[in-house]
Symmetry: C2
Subunit: 416 residues, 2 copies
């Protein structure tokens, strides 16, 4: 575990900031009516790296001037390491560059944050054993909770990239086909079981054209974001057989605005859980590829106070992002810069560690307490905020907030 | 039904050409080492519309100079109509433009064809009743063949856009996790049941941010391509529960190189089949939105002759592309220019009309005859070619070939 690296940006040395110099996460910001630009979070500020490129302080060509991080990711791992070491030197306490860089610093409070990268395609996994066991137990009983393939494959499905939005974007409760077990026929109306899924999203930073080993896959992951995979459970229940979730997952997926790099998280790598069934060689563990990242879900009712409804940790996963990416390429599937891989809902062993309201309220049967009321699923006006950080000695590597407010379903259509 | 519109391009007046003046399908081609350019197929030639734009004959700004049709699609329906009417006037027999245009014509035989558009995202449906009944009967018996939601929802799942390739691109037999019903554990090896799916792909030509009616969805579809959704049945059988197909469908999806516009197909619109269960209002039929398009699958073994192994028609579908797109947006899912919607395998009522080898060989139990042998599934060296056309008076609106050759699985890994 490394120590805090002190910066001349004073707010970056506070023990509770998400963005010490050890972190250096990459985002896209704008001020006023200016075009969105690449920036790096440092304490409560943003360093305008597009301006540093224009001023000749950095030398990554057009990549940092694109208003998205895809072009930079495409430059490859040696550029990733070089930018990180350059920024660390420039921002370190005592660096000569302080005076020159101060003119390129913007307060986060004065900036609007945008999508940090163009999502090429979005894939979502189902890779926390506690989550799969909880959901399986609800629907099939604890003896048959895990599907037969679960311990052999990091099960995934393709999601909808066009629905991925950055933290702060409000979303509408979706309409969809709904059919309760006792209904004779489906009807079309607003979802009554709108839910959340606490996940970590891995950002693929290098394209590939054929199968990757787990080690190669690990190297191709640029960084991570928090991810809330909004899920309409009632739409899902009716639509998902036989080809999987579709409209239930396509209203919105919210991500946090800063890509926390794999390099920044490197000191926090941890081993996967013991394998009760050995993985096939192409998916075998190849060193510690999970991370010790504390995670939390906050629910804030309209006009009310936030309640932390769940606390869990990314180290609870059964499969790492590297294993998921290796599996994803196993048939030869081409990957592209900007592919986003959702970890799957991250649940821990106890009730307070569950990563979805479906699990927290056990299918809606056991409402949970929040400020001024209870919840089975998300209600209109609720804001859901995910937070996460790894804890170092005197610092933490945080993600910033991943937040979204649910607006009422659109009213212009009558339910069928 | 309109008559043939004669062109001064003689080959466009032949009754068996796929590309009479009535068609005018849009593609991307290159000659020598030149950059790919937008072109229109006319008879056995290609009209270089990028050159016409550069010469000032057309006036669609940068859109036709992009090397892909996405930017032009983005201009909207009135531009779609204006380009079609302009090209029809320029290419019509007796047009004054003949001498000027002759310099911008290239023989298809001298050109390489590329992807006609950038696939934003790829969605695949399961919307032919005959196909769903055949597959369901094989796995669950004829009484339970159709899933309970099938008559209410055009069932779809998100596919992998990065795997879509243009006709002529060879592909490798995929590796994947395989587990037979009697195997104790899965193994990792080349697929033994590699299959095809004959489909029509609808190309979304306008972005949308919220729910579309069926009529709005119909208007947003720019055109169609033939589509072969290569499918590894053994990988699929082991992976697809509970979240649907993933690696089984991600090796490659081949499309034909010309986008045949909805305008060109308009004279061939036909009504959907009778609805035994009424559709919910948001999915109800709104006029004839299927097309009478004859379709054929050819299988050519390495060094052998092609055998037509199936003949069917797009009018056999239960759901139209417009209904699929309306359903796709029902939860608020944003759509983008270049989204590709696979119809789902198109099977007809008889054995000779089945759109996949899974159905043609009834799960591999009834091999079919081909030149010099039999087939249960695709073998290494086989080339699969899809063809399709609508038949007018003295002309046809064709798609050109959608072809792909299967190469052996990569040898560098040993099966686990």
């Amino acid at each position: 575990m490394t120590d805090l690296v002190r910066s001349w940006v004073e707010s970056a040395n506070a023990p509770d900031t998400d963005f010490p110099l050890n972190n250096l996460p990459y985002g896209v910001f704008s001020t006023g009516s200016n075009r969105p630009r690449c920036g790096v979070a440092i304490g409560s500020e943003i360093l305008d790296v597009a301006a540093l490129e224009e001023a000749g302080v950095l030398d990554f060509g057009e990549a940092l001037r694109a208003g998205t991080w895809n072009d930079f990711m495409n430059l490859g791992q040696s550029s990733w390491a070089r930018l990180r070491s350059t920024l660390t030197a420039l921002l370190r306490e005592g660096a000569e560059s302080e005076a020159r860089l101060r003119t390129h610093i913007v307060a986060q409070a004065d900036a609007t944050l945008h999508m940090p990268f163009r999502v090429a395609e979005y894939t979502d996994f189902y890779a926390s054993r506690h989550h799969a066991f909880n959901v399986g137990s609800m629907f099939r009983g604890p003896e048959n909770a895990l599907p037969p393939n679960w311990l052999h494959i990091p099960i995934g499905y393709n999601g909808r990239a066009s629905s991925v939005v950055v933290s702060g974007t409000p979303l509408r409760r979706p309409w969809g086909q709904l059919k309760g077990p006792d209904d004779a026929a489906p009807r079309f109306g607003p979802s009554q079981r709108f839910d959340i899924e606490l996940e970590l999203g891995a950002v693929v930073g290098q394209a590939s054209a054929g199968p990757l080993s787990v080690a190669q896959a690990f190297d191709n992951i640029f960084g991570f974001v928090l991810l809330n995979d909004w899920s309409a459970r009632d739409i899902q229940a009716w639509e998902y057989q036989p080809l999987g979730p579709f409209q239930s997952k396509a209203t919105a997926t919210t991500i946090s605005p800063w890509i926390v790099t794999a390099d920044a998280l490197d000191p926090f790598r941890v081993d996967p859980p013991p394998r009760e069934v050995p993985l096939l060689p192409h998916l075998m563990d190849d060193g510690p590829m999970l991370y010790d990242i504390s995670l939390e879900i906050g629910l804030t009712p309209d006009g009310g106070q936030e309640t932390a409804i769940s606390r869990t940790n990314y180290r609870e996963m059964y499969y790492s992002a590297a294993q998921q990416l290796a599996h994803h390429t196993s048939c030869g599937c081409p990957m592209r810069v900007g592919d986003l891989l959702g970890s799957g809902t991250i649940s821990g062993p106890d009730r307070g560690n569950r990563g979805s309201l479906l699990e927290l309220s056990w299918g809606g049967k056991e409402p949970i307490d929040i400020d001024g009321g209870t919840r089975r699923f998300v209600e209109d006006g609720d804001t859901i905020t995910l937070r996460g950080h790894a804890t170092g000695k005197g610092y933490r590597i945080g993600f910033g907030a991943c937040s979204g407010k649910v607006l009422p379903a659109e009213a212009r259509r009558k339910p069928d």
